[in-house]
C-alpha cells in the first residue's frame, strides 16, 4: 500500500483553480520528484497536501484521509513540510528553531534528537545560540530540514530546497537528502527546479504542467525521455 495516495486533487487560491485533478503516489521510504515549469502548480500541490490551502479530492496518508484537515493535524500524522524559502524563524535562535520542530512531541527523546541533528549538521551546533536569520542560505536550508526531522515525520515535503543556493552547496544538500533517506527511511516528495540533481537521488518522478500530471515514470526513464530532457534538463 502506498504511504501517500493522491487522487483527483484539486485546489487553488480563492476563485483561481491551480490543480486540475492530480493522481500520484509515494511509497514508503522512496524519494519522488515533482518536476514542472514555473506556475505548473508544484508549490500549490505541496500546500494542498499539508493543509495550508483548501483542496478537494482525496489524499490518503497511511490510510488516513488528509483532505479537509488543518496543517496541525497533517503534521501530527507524520507529514512535515519544508516550505519554499526555508520558512526560517529568523528572530529565534537556531536551537529554538529546532525545538519548535518538536512542538507536538512530549517524549523524553527530544534532547537526544537535537544532539543527533547537531552531529549531522555541525554548523548548526556552532551557531545554536545565534538568531537563525543570520545563517547563510545553505545553513538555513539544513536548519529547515533538521527542524522538520525533529518532528520525526514519515514523509518529508521539500519545496525547492536548492533555491538561491550555490551549485556546490546544492550538490551537498542533495547528497545529504539521499543519506537521510537511506538512514531514516523517511519518504520524500521533492519539488525541484534543478531536475538533474533531483532525478539523481529520486526513484520516481512526475511531470506537472498547468495543474495536471502529464508524465510519470522511474527517474531513469524520465532522464531518458526526450521531452523531459528538452524541457527540464536543458539537454
Amino acid at each position: 500500500m502506498s504511504l501517500l495516495a493522491v487522487r483527483d486533487l484539486r485546489g487553488g487560491y480563492g476563485p483561481v483553480r491551480v490543480l486540475h485533478g492530480l493522481d500520484f503516489d509515494v511509497e514508503p521510504g522512496e524519494i519522488v520528484v515533482l518536476l514542472g515549469a514555473n506556475g505548473a502548480g508544484k508549490t500549490t500541490t505541496l500546500r494542498a497536501l499539508s493543509g495550508l490551502i483548501p483542496a478537494t479530492g482525496s489524499v490518503r496518508f497511511d490510510g488516513t484521509e488528509l483532505v479537509g484537515r488543518r496543517p496541525e493535524a497533517v503534521v501530527r500524522r507524520g507529514v512535515a513540510h519544508v516550505p519554499q524559502g526555508r520558512g526560517t524563524l529568523a528572530e529565534l535562535s537556531v536551537e529554538d528553531n529546532l525545538l519548535v520542530g518538536a512542538y507536538l512531541r512530549s517524549d523524553p527523546e527530544v534532547g537526544a534528537d537535537l544532539e543527533r541533528w547537531y552531529t549531522t549538521f555541525p554548523r548548526l551546533r556552532e551557531r545554536r545560540g545565534q538568531p537563525a536569520g543570520t545563517l547563510s542560505g545553505g545553513e538555513q536550508q539544513m536548519l529547515a530540514i533538521a527542524r522538520a526531522l525533529m518532528g520525526r515525520p514519515r514523509l518529508l515535503l521539500l519545496d525547492e530546497p536548492s533555491m538561491g543556493l550555490a551549485p556546490i552547496i546544492t550538490q551537498n544538500l542533495f547528497r545529504t537528502l539521499a543519506e537521510l533517506n537511506a538512514s531514516l527511511g523517511v519518504a520524500m516528495l521533492v519539488v525541484e527546479q534543478n531536475a538533474m540533481l533531483a532525478l539523481e537521488i529520486a526513484r520516481r518522478a512526475y511531470v506537472l504542467e498547468t495543474g495536471r500530471i502529464v508524465t510519470a515514470g522511474s527517474a531513469a526513464e524520465l532522464k531518458g525521455d526526450e521531452a523531459v530532457r528538452k524541457a527540464y534538463l536543458g539537454l
Binding site: S50, L52, R70, P71, E72, V75, R76, A80, H81, P83, G87, T88, L89, A90, E91, L92, D96, L99, V100, G101, Y103, L104, R147, A148, G151
Partner: protein
C-alpha cells in the same frame, strides 16, 4: 535648582511610568503576535478595573479582587480574540483597526451601562506611606508599582523564554506559516496573546486608579495615550522597548509638569510630542526592528 524636588519628581515619574510600561507591554504583546495596534487596550483595562472595584465593593479584600479580575480578564481577552477579532483577522489591517476602535467605544459604553456613570473610589493595595529619604519623597505606591512591573517582566520572560507556550508564541510572531507547519495552532496562540494582554491591562488599571483619583469611564484614556507613546518610543515589537519607553514617558511627563509651567494644563502634549518625534526620527522606535522589504 532644588535637588530633592527633582528626585521626588523623578521617582513619581518612574512610578507612573511603570503603569504606562505595563500597558505598553500589553500593546506590544498583541502587536508582536497579530501585527495589530489594539486601540481598545485601555478600555479593556477600564472594564477590568471596574470588575476589580465591583468585587472589592462586594466585600472582597482588594488583593483578592485584583487577582480574580486579572484571571477573569485573561479569559475575557481570549474570548474577545476568538469572537471579535478572529472573524476579521484576514481582512485588511484598516478594517481590524476600525474594529478595535469600535471595541474602544463599545467597551466604554458597556462599562457605563453596567457600572453606572458615577465616580467610584477604589482601595489601594499599597500602604499610603511616604518615605522621606533626605528630602526626596518616595511613596510606597511608587515602590509598589515599580516592584509589580519588575515581577511582570520576570514572569513574562519566563513564559516566553522557558516554556513551550512561550516558544510557540514566539514562533507565531516570527513566522506564522512555519509555526503552522510544525503543528502550532496559530489561532490558539493569538488567543493566548490577547489573554495575556488583557490580564496585564487589568493589573495596570487596578493599580493605577487608586493612585490617581476616582474611577470613571475616562480613567484609562490618557493612560492609554501615554502607553502608546511609550510603545512608540521603545518600538512596537520590543517588550524591552515598551518598558524603557513607558518609564521615559512617565519621567518626561513628571518633569515637564514640574519645570515647564505653561505645559502644566496640557500635559498630553508630552506623549504626543514623543510619538511625533519618534515617528520623524526613528519610526521603528529605540528597540524596534527596522523592517526591510525586498521589492
Amino acid at each position: 535648582m532644588n535637588v530633592s524636588l527633582f528626585f521626588t519628581q523623578l521617582a513619581n515619574g518612574i512610578g507612573a511610568g511603570a503603569i504606562y510600561a505595563s500597558l505598553a507591554l500589553a500593546l506590544v504583546l498583541i502587536f508582536r503576535t497579530t501585527g495589530l495596534l489594539n486601540f481598545a487596550q485601555g478600555e479593556m483595562a477600564l472594564f477590568s478595573t471596574y470588575v476589580t472595584w465591583w468585587l472589592w465593593d462586594q466585600g472582597a479584600p482588594i488583593l483578592v479582587a485584583i487577582l480574580v479580575s486579572v484571571a477573569l480578564s485573561f479569559a475575557g481577552g481570549a474570548v474577545i480574540e476568538r469572537v471579535v477579532i478572529r472573524p476579521v483577522e484576514a481582512a485588511s489591517p484598516l478594517i481590524v483597526v476600525i474594529v478595535t476602535l469600535g471595541m474602544f467605544l463599545a467597551l466604554n459604553a458597556l462599562t457605563q451601562v453596567v457600572f453606572g456613570t458615577d465616580a467610584k473610589q477604589l482601595a489601594s493595595v499599597f500602604p499610603r506611606r511616604v518615605f522621606d529619604l533626605g528630602g526626596v519623597r518616595l511613596s510606597a505606591q511608587t515602590l509598589g508599582l515599580v516592584g509589580v512591573l519588575v515581577v511582570e517582566c520576570v514572569l513574562l520572560w519566563i513564559v516566553f523564554q522557558r516554556t513551550k507556550v512561550g516558544l510557540a508564541l514566539r514562533a507565531v510572531a516570527s513566522n506564522p506559516t512555519s509555526a503552522r507547519l510544525v503543528g502550532i495552532s496559530v489561532g490558539r496562540m493569538l488567543m493566548v496573546g490577547w489573554a495575556l494582554a488583557a490580564a496585564l491591562g487589568a493589573l495596570a488599571g487596578s493599580l493605577v486608579v487608586p493612585a490617581t483619583e476616582a474611577l470613571t469611564a475616562s480613567s484609562m484614556q490618557a493612560i492609554l495615550v501615554f502607553a502608546f507613546a511609550g510603545a512608540a518610543l521603545g518600538g512596537f515589537d520590543s517588550p524591552l522597548g515598551a518598558v524603557v519607553g513607558g518609564l521615559v514617558v512617565g519621567v518626561a511627563n513628571a518633569l515637564t509638569i514640574e519645570y515647564l509651567e505653561p505645559l502644566r494644563d496640557v500635559e498630553l502634549l508630552v506623549p504626543f510630542g514623543i510619538i511625533l518625534g519618534v515617528l520623524l526620527v526613528r519610526p521603528a522606535g529605540l528597540f524596534g526592528t527596522q523592517r526591510v522589504e525586498r521589492v
